[in-house]
Symmetry: C2
Subunit: 343 residues, 2 copies
DNA sequence: ATGAAAGCGCTAACAG
DNA sequence: CTGTTAGCGCTTTCAT
């Protein structure tokens, strides 16, 4: 079933059928109807390979990620697949290392080789300004997912996730339980979300009139071991925190393991909260209080935006707000620590 | 960078370059070398769209999976990508539900629509005999990954993983530590690996002269909650086991959580072992003794086999043996005397 | 063992 | 508005 078959059936040229299929407006309504009917009768479906080879792009997008978190990746892929299936686009997965020097060139080659229509950039690739600039200079259409409290005004379409607000909510939850000394285990610096979450933590403390303490904020990366080590350091302080907020669930899981390895009971001796609502947070004991971040929804939206953009439609930035999920790993501090604070 | 460029560089015709790229044997070794050098010098990559349009198939394979385990999926994708990149094939991911009635037809449509060259079937899809038969009848080339102690002789190429042997090794490890009452938390019945692992467990017990006890083998699925519930049931027995072998790491993580929620100390009160060597097993406290199963390696091999088969080469089945990894979650059982003293 | 010619199904660039 | 003519980069088929 080819364009020519449809053309013959409709009594027009192949090019006209092509125009109808691609939604071009320079076709008379009655001609269009005739072609549409022929397409339906013959159950014609365009050959993506031929379209891609001949046209300026392959009707396929690339999903670019550099994220050590398996759950996150699966969720993102799921979202991208959903959108691509619905809109008749192909999808290529592209794991990468966001820190290599030639990343923009690699992605350019990737796009050119497969004649990709565009890219969905996820964090932290989406936060490397130099890479974004180069990609834009290469005229590669892309949409990115970023961590930001409000819509960026740089003209590049994005879905922005308000990590700051969600981190504020988690910290406020701990403060409302009565915690005052709250440790913060930071995530990797190449993720802007880390800074946003730290900001949310600090904003909450300030609003509740609690002094920020440097020794309670520990640097680290989004890995279990840094959560473990960071928590151990916090426990060894002269005045250890009664609650710990890990920058994501994996860090929090590391903190949980550290508590257990130290003989501390969670949540009675120490409360622990994470971020992300990954299966990690449910598959620990006790399950972790966290912020629900629907990576599948976020990426599906970004993918739809990208395809709309490729089709020349106007697109507006979209926002996503993670939602607080309270589970068993957080509870009020033990009275002892409160007394200590007062005395 | 096209075939013609390479042909010019190597001083041969485009067709010869094509032959080399596709691994055809009718090329003289020295000619092949010359072409290979030209390809490297020019960093030539064949255009998959053109190949697909021109050839009888799209030089792209599909990776089919129905597995709830994110780590497993990522590892499999990684392996498939590695092989496809090396052999200049495209890759399409295909998550599915292995229990739906029309699966074979869905996959056939998937293959035809994208003119896929073949499929890599992973468990448990690869174990649905009716689906396999239909796929074969549709003349769709595929390679499957199965759980088996020895090479199947059904003429369908496969990579077979000896789960039984690895489960035997884990059980033997526990027996050698001195455990006699060893609980087994089974995985989902639609996975043949579950039966193989149970078999390995039973073989080891028999081999060591330990009586099998029904109440120590608990049914369940490959999910955290079943590990949790199953372990709780074991702890409630009049004579609870001193060690638990979970059919995979997620089940074992559930068992670990159950132990902790019951106030049992791992490994002093109870040893726990898993299977898979997923990050789960490292990100718990204590880290889990397990069997290392390199899903990436397994799938990469399967993918290479599939492509070889598509190219008309002869392929033999390959085997993979998971390897025992001992970590902190297993230790000798507590001597009765000491237990009394502490209790 | 290698090459020449003929498309694969579609769209871009031009006609009219 | 619609049609014609050229390819896209590769594999097929058939020569040699």
């Amino acid at each position: 079933m080819t364009l020519d078959d449809v053309a013959a059936q409709a009594g027009v040229s192949a090019k006209t059928v092509s125009r109808v299929v691609n939604g071009e407006r320079s076709v008379r309504p009655d001609t269009r109807q005739r072609v549409l009917r022929a397409i339906e009768q013959l159950d014609y479906r365009p050959n993506l390979l031929a379209r891609g080879l001949s046209g300026s792009h392959a009707y396929t997008i690339g999903l670019v990620y550099d994220n050590p978190n398996a759950y996150y990746i699966i969720a993102m892929q799921q979202g991208a697949l959903t959108a691509c299936d619905a809109l008749n686009f192909g999808l290529q997965m592209r794991p990468c290392d966001s820190t290599v020097p030639g990343l923009a060139e690699d992605l350019r080659d990737f796009v050119h080789r497969s004649r990709l229509s565009g890219l969905v950039l996820t964090t932290p690739v989406s936060e490397r300004q130099a890479t974004l600039r180069k990609l834009a200079a290469y005229r590669i259409p892309f949409v990115r997912i970023v961590s930001a409290a409000k819509s960026p005004h740089d003209g590049i379409p994005c879905v922005y996730v308000d990590d700051r607000d969600a981190a504020y909510a988690i910290t406020a939850h701990l403060l409302q339980l009565g915690h005052v000394r709250i440790g913060f285990l930071r995530g990797g610096k190449q993720h802007h979300a880390s800074a946003e979450r730290l900001q949310g933590y600090q904003d909450a403390l300030r609003h509740y009139g609690v002094t920020l303490r440097k020794e309670l904020m520990i640097e680290g990366d989004y890995v279990f071991d840094d959560g473990f080590r960071g928590a151990r350091r916090l426990f060894e302080l002269a005045e250890p925190p009664t609650a710990i907020f890990g920058c994501n669930d994996e860090i929090a899981a590391g903190a949980l393991a550290a508590a257990q390895s130290t003989g501390l009971h969670v949540p009675y001796d120490v409360s622990i909260a994470g971020f992300e609502d990954s299966p990690f947070s449910r598959h620990s004991w006790p399950p972790l209080t966290t912020a629900r971040q629907r990576a599948d929804v976020i990426v599906e939206r970004a993918t739809r935006m990208l395809i709309a953009r490729i089709r020349g439609e106007h697109v507006d930035n979209e926002s996503f707000n993670p939602e607080l999920v309270v589970r068993g790993s957080t509870a009020p501090p033990r009275p002892k620590s409160r007394r200590r604070k007062r005395g």
